[in-house]
Symmetry: C2
Subunit: 224 residues, 2 copies
């Protein structure tokens, strides 16, 4: 149960600081820690494993998830460049985490962070802030999961668009199955709903992973 996360710290890739524009968490210890990288679909940590590290995405995309008793998978969240994940108050992870594509993360030992927070109230507040951000996103998902399929997709697209769109075009890192498991739908429903949005001219879908937002207000109104 203890020990080896299947983590191999690769020799320092010269990752060009892919720092996103958002308020950077873990500021106080921002410069500490080393980098690790993971191949697509590689496990980063498992549910119930001891929480050894806290992770910050440098590049790539990560999903956290749980496998439900009936075998379905529920995705807890997607983490993109600049996002922090894997932080727990307790000493065990509540979700598993996997790389969606090639991922580089910076890691800091949990023990170091917690020790720091015991001395430095500023650092302690950062931990609180990170957890509160997670809470907000979990609460938003709660609201998502009681909406209709088109509404869920619209929310998802707006969320992703805000994170990684350039000129209304975005390249999704995750598969239809990932999206379905995130939104609590089936892959077929996700696909059909996207097709519908295309025929409404709300979005374009030049390739299955590339989305063009053609009518943002139509997406927003779906939730109105």
């Amino acid at each position: 149960m203890l020990m080896q996360t299947p983590i191999r710290p690769t020799a320092a890739l010269p990752v060009t600081a892919t720092v996103s524009g958002r308020p950077v968490a873990l500021g106080a210890i921002e410069l500490m820690g080393s980098q690790m990288s993971f191949a697509a679909n590689e496990e980063i940590f498992g549910e119930n494993e001891p929480c050894e590290y806290v992770y910050k995405v440098v590049s790539g995309a990560v999903r956290t998830y749980k496998i439900l008793a009936d075998g379905r998978r529920q995705i807890g969240g997607f983490y993109l460049a600049g996002d922090t994940f894997g932080l727990e108050v307790g000493t065990e992870h509540h979700f598993s985490a996997e790389a969606i594509n090639k991922v580089v993360v910076r890691v800091v030992r949990r023990s170091a962070i917690v020790a720091q927070a015991e001395r430095d109230c500023e650092a302690a507040r950062e931990l609180w802030t990170i957890t509160a951000r997670e809470l907000k996103s979990a609460q938003e998902r709660m609201l998502l999961l009681v909406k209709s399929a088109p509404q869920r997709l619209a929310c998802f697209l707006l969320e992703m668009s805000a994170r990684l769109a350039v000129a209304n075009t975005l390249e999704l890192p995750m598969s239809r199955q990932d999206i379905a498991d995130y939104l609590g739908l089936t892959i077929e429903t996700v696909s059909r709903t996207l097709t519908q949005l295309v025929s409404d001219a709300t979005i374009g879908l030049p390739t299955s992973r590339r989305i063009v937002v053609r009518n943002r207000s139509a997406l927003a109104e779906l939730n109105a």
Copy 2:
């Protein structure tokens, strides 16, 4: 039906330890603050209002909620004796809160708590812990909301049973509508599902608000 403790809204009742068995949050400032009481269905605070106080339930039950764009209400959580609610990292509430029945709370000014946390890392950790507990429960609800109606009810009953059952019997403070809005179901589905559990002899329902858990493992297995 006289179930609630008869608590008067009088000024300063010298409330002695409102101790629940759980690790007491806000320990450092546990003794500060004054009491407030609310009548059934009275608003405690509204969404987007400035977060002036943090609340701890002394007696009664509280619901937090949002009204969705289509008019439906989603309940964020139920808070019973000993639970803390209304704490935000930012300065605005994300949900509204109402008393379900007659409620007494102890309140502490948010500014006092935050100021304390800036000096005292121990207090800062408490804030983190409270928010992390909220996060865990929001994540559990995420998982709930993708399950079948009987599974959601089973989860709900086990959760409530753990909180307020005495000898396998519990008195629900909340209405069917509250339960429905908590579980993302309709009132009819909640009612039918409970009826089904009764005919399975999984629970007894001597009155509409009183639940007797007859076969706990059957409830647990529903989620298996």
